[in-house]
Symmetry: C2
Subunit: 345 residues, 2 copies
């Protein structure tokens, strides 16, 4: 299907499409010709509007639930709206203030990834999603080996743009600190390596190449390090305001709601969908079937990537395709600025 260019539609069609989208977003019902006329004080007659709507339908931008119903935007209609019609919105001062407060509080307490989802959900009145960045191929650039008191040993690995992760184990016999440092150096000489698989490859090489006296520690440490990296690669998706999406009229049938149950329980499909926003430094919109996971193809996602503490995260909002894109984009733009997403690396 060829992408519509902005100038394929004349001014009137563009205005009417805008009206239909925005009316339908707020009213959640098919919109008819006389409603558009009345709501926007148009001086043209309903019949003319009907003709225009018919053209929009031929373009695939509107559709018709049944003969005697009004029009509803198609996913392509929303796409056209988002790309060419929607004008920037500004946040209500109260919303802005609430966000500022929440962000400031989060910064102080340091638990920003905990506070962000409820704040976003509250401000957007939609389900908010925050995914701590995942990257299977992220380079492991740090490796630390520490002997703790009491015989336990600690291994720490850091991936680029990610936090440091640690785990501990208790070897059969105490390990000489000098051996630890040599083992550390041996590993570091090969850094950076690519993700968990890189570490596993390193563990493999270690068996034949590393000096025997450090092989023992490394045999314990490297697989654990690989597991840590693999664990970081599974993004933790945090959610806020699930009540909003569950309250939407499009999710008032069990068939519509069920996929949501699955997605919210096992968040993997959601994480997958959010990955595609990893490069978005400004809010990006994904509408319905534009994203892959079937369970959320009745939803739209507006999201972007921001710096969150030491690592990057995708933050966004998910709702029905009939979503107030204007408002949500404005919201995310603001939050992104506040968190330094746009200015980030």
């Amino acid at each position: 299907m060829s992408r519509l260019t902005p100038d394929m539609l004349d001014e009137r069609l563009r205005r009417i499409l805008t009206f239909v989208v925005e009316s339908h977003v707020t009213r959640a019902e098919p919109v008819g010709s006389q409603y558009v006329r009345a709501a926007y004080h148009l001086s043209i007659s309903p019949a003319t509007i009907r003709n225009a709507m018919q053209q929009l339908e031929e373009f695939g931008l509107l559709s018709h639930p049944h003969t005697s119903a009004g029009r509803v935007p198609t996913e392509q209609g929303y796409r056209y709206y988002v790309d060419h019609l929607m004008r920037p919105d500004s946040l209500a001062p109260a919303t802005r203030r609430a966000l500022d407060e929440a962000l400031e509080e989060a910064r102080l307490s340091g638990a920003i990834e905990e506070r962000l989802p409820p704040a976003l959900a509250h401000a957007s009145r939609h389900l908010s999603v925050v995914s701590l960045q995942s990257d299977d191929t992220a380079r492991v650039h740090r490796f630390e080996l520490v002997g703790l008191d009491g015989g336990e040993h600690l291994v720490a690995v850091g991936i680029e743009g990610g936090p440091l992760a640690t785990t501990t184990w208790r070897p059969a016999a105490a390990v000489d600190p000098a051996i630890l440092r040599r083992a550390e150096s041996w590993v570091r000489a090969s850094l950076p390596v690519a993700g968990a698989t890189g570490l596993e490859a390193l563990a493999e090489r270690m068996r034949s190449e590393a000096p025997p006296e450090i092989a023992g520690v490394l045999a314990e440490a490297l697989p654990r390090a690989a597991r840590l990296v693999a664990g970081m690669a599974q993004p933790a998706v945090r959610l806020g305001g699930a009540e909003h999406i569950a309250a939407q009229p499009e999710f008032q049938t069990p068939d519509a709601l069920r996929p949501l149950v699955l997605v919210l329980a096992e968040r993997e499909p959601l994480a997958r969908a959010l990955e595609s926003f990893a490069a978005a430094r400004a809010p990006r919109v994904s509408i319905g079937h534009e994203h892959a996971p079937a369970a959320i193809q009745s939803c739209s996602i507006v999201a972007m990537s921001v710096e969150l503490g030491p690592s990057r995260a995708v933050i966004g909002v998910m709702g029905p395709v009939r979503m107030p894109y204007r408002r949500v984009v404005a919201l995310l733009t603001y939050v992104g600025e506040r968190l330094g997403g746009g200015s980030g690396a």
Copy 2:
């Protein structure tokens, strides 16, 4: 309402209640007198069964959706069944084998808390829940302070019966290792303390009592340590097999399904409900309104506490009140034995 004693019901009433519960569990429909008679080859007449059912209804064990429908167990009916009627079930060999394999594989890969939910869900054909144990008041019994290469510093805290948690920060100026060790010792002298609040109190005391040269590091380390403990106290709830609960006939209306959406998204109510199983060394059953969170009062939970790696966890299964308690209890009993839950501290 006074608790029913097992001998308040004569043998026939007990048998009929058993039949009604078990039929309803498998068929998900009200069960009528002639169905009971036919299904269990009873030699008594439907009329007699009806009389018996009427008595059971007077006891509050059965109820009646409407005049011309069969009987349905009440929550108290299920409770009586679970307490007095249900006989131990044995696992199908295939299930047992599948579980053995999953557990063995999980043990090898070390990621048991990842593998357990899907395994439990698959074996029980219900939603499985695994909650890593939380305890606000858990004693902090370990404290480590380590200088890493590159100027970063690492603080590690361990709570009793829990894993070691770590975080890092980068102080303005490098800290002398000797100072680190003295700071460590100063904190350890006060261990164990109770949970995050204990650490916060310690940070408070530190300001007036600690030698000035270690106050700087501790001012950075102690609040971070407190946050780590607070974070551990928020149990991570993992789920498996959400499709099972979403497929149950009792959740085929939006009103029934909606609370589930909320609970699965924000897992806090679930975590709260699971806390009450922390002391259960054998499967315990909580039926409908027996647990507090309103959102899951149309569900039952069968769960128990087991040792999972270094810490304890509550593992269980959640489904509609109409749940195959026999089978699920047998399943959890088996898994509990395998994980050493019963034999645990």
